[in-house]
């Protein structure tokens, strides 16, 4: 879970997909059907001619082939690259370093911040003692401006997810008592290589 803008990802896929479908289908049809081929030829030839004319007409000076048209094309290409880089650079994120923050009130008390490390240590420390939990990780996330604790737990095989949820729910209550405020918590129960390799809960208890 991170703050990746999923709508953007899907929009990129949709636009490029539609362009590929249209281009591929028209090219294949043009190669097969003579009528479409003649339409393709006249359309592309006239647009190539238009581009040549535009490039010739908008030359900077008579001596160079450099034209405003070529510069515009280069700028458009640059814009594509910049947009792609911006989208990729904005992926992920949404990590938060604070679990909760109490603003300064009247009197001597200043602002109180409880950091992610405190909650993470408290939770993973409590979970490390449990034999049915193989590993746990805690991350603080900002979802719509609210700090959410995301706990990822890999239990041993055959452990009931309800037991794990109950256990972590209890820890959430304890943390709420400790910090004086409830923090929204999301628990992910994962199966992983570790749970497959580790022995299941021993039958002798």
């Amino acid at each position: 879970m991170n703050a990746t803008h999923r709508g953007v990802n899907r929009t990129v896929l949709l636009v490029v997909g539609v362009v590929l479908i249209a281009g591929g289908a028209v090219a294949a049809a043009a190669a097969l059907v003579p009528d479409i081929a003649s339409v393709w030829r006249s359309a592309t030839e006239s647009s190539v001619r238009w581009m040549r004319d535009a490039a010739t007409a908008s030359r900077l000076t008579e001596a160079t082939p450099v034209s405003w048209f070529a510069i515009a094309v280069l700028a458009a290409l640059l814009a594509i690259v910049v947009v792609a880089v911006i989208i990729v650079a904005r992926l992920g994120g949404g990590r938060s370093s604070t679990v909760l923050r109490e603003e300064a009130r009247d009197g001597a008390q200043g602002a109180v911040t409880i950091g992610h490390g405190f909650a993470a240590d408290a939770l993973t420390g409590a979970l490390a003692n449990r034999s049915e939990i193989l590993s746990s990780r805690v991350a603080a996330r900002k979802v719509r401006g609210v700090d959410v604790l995301h706990v990822k737990v890999t239990p041993r095989q055959r452990t009931s997810p309800r037991d794990v949820a109950e256990l972590v729910g209890q820890l959430a209550d304890n943390l709420a008592v400790l910090t004086g405020r409830e923090t929204p918590m999301l628990l992910s129960i994962r199966s992983g290589i570790r749970s497959r390799v580790a022995a299941s809960e021993s039958r002798v208890r």
């Binding site: 997909g17 792609a84 949820a165």
Partner: protein, 195 residues
């Protein structure tokens, strides 16, 4: 507890962000744009083309219907269209991850299907009093397949397995909900082989 925030978190955990596909498409797109840009600049500055000058490239595009071999053009177009279909499917498909949300807890819980399968199999094995490995459970997004292999001489009814599995699943309060499909395998012989 801020429920809309947690619901959003659950949705994010149970659905794919499509990041890998989007990054791959963007990288290819940017690389193509850079290549075309380089060719244009080389043509403007009078250097030879890397592969093809812009003018020749456009002419080749215009003469595509007459290009030889024709089969290659058709195949190329078909492959591009298929790739486009895949991308559109990725864009509008649900992109569900193999996970379920569990409700009935004060915190939001998302559980991998593998964990659910192993827990349900263990519970069924205990209720039916079977050896380890005698119950195999597969969890899909909308259905659960339960295969039970009774011990020799043991008689287990399909309806009982289905009822037990459904009862166990009800206690998880899964969303999306699932349907149980039960199957009784042939009992193993004494050495554990198929009869």
């Amino acid at each position: 507890m801020s429920n809309s925030v947690l619901n959003r978190g659950v949705r994010r955990e149970t659905h794919s962000p499509r990041t890998v596909a989007a990054v791959a498409v963007l990288v290819v797109l940017a690389a193509a744009a850079v290549f075309v840009g380089i060719e244009i600049v080389r043509w403007l500055t009078g250097l030879g083309p890397l592969l093809v000058t812009p003018g020749d490239g456009l002419n080749a595009l215009a003469q595509l219907p007459d290009a030889e071999p024709q089969g290659a053009v058709v195949a190329g177009g078909a492959i591009a269209a298929l790739l486009g279909l895949v991308l559109v499917w990725l864009a509008i498909g649900p992109g569900r991850r193999p996970r379920h949300a569990l409700s009935g807890h004060p915190i939001a819980v998302v559980c991998d299907n593998g964990v659910l399968a192993s827990a349900i199999a263990e519970q069924l094995r205990r209720s039916l009093d079977l050896a380890p490995g005698a119950v195999v459970v597969g969890v899909g997004s909308r259905s659960i397949d339960v295969t039970v292999r009774p011990a020799p001489g043991q008689n287990i009814e399909k309806d009982r397995v289905r009822a037990l599995a459904a009862e166990e699943i009800d206690r998880y309060e899964l969303s999306p909900g699932v349907k149980v499909h039960a199957r009784i395998a042939k009992p193993a012989d004494e050495e554990g082989r198929d009869r």
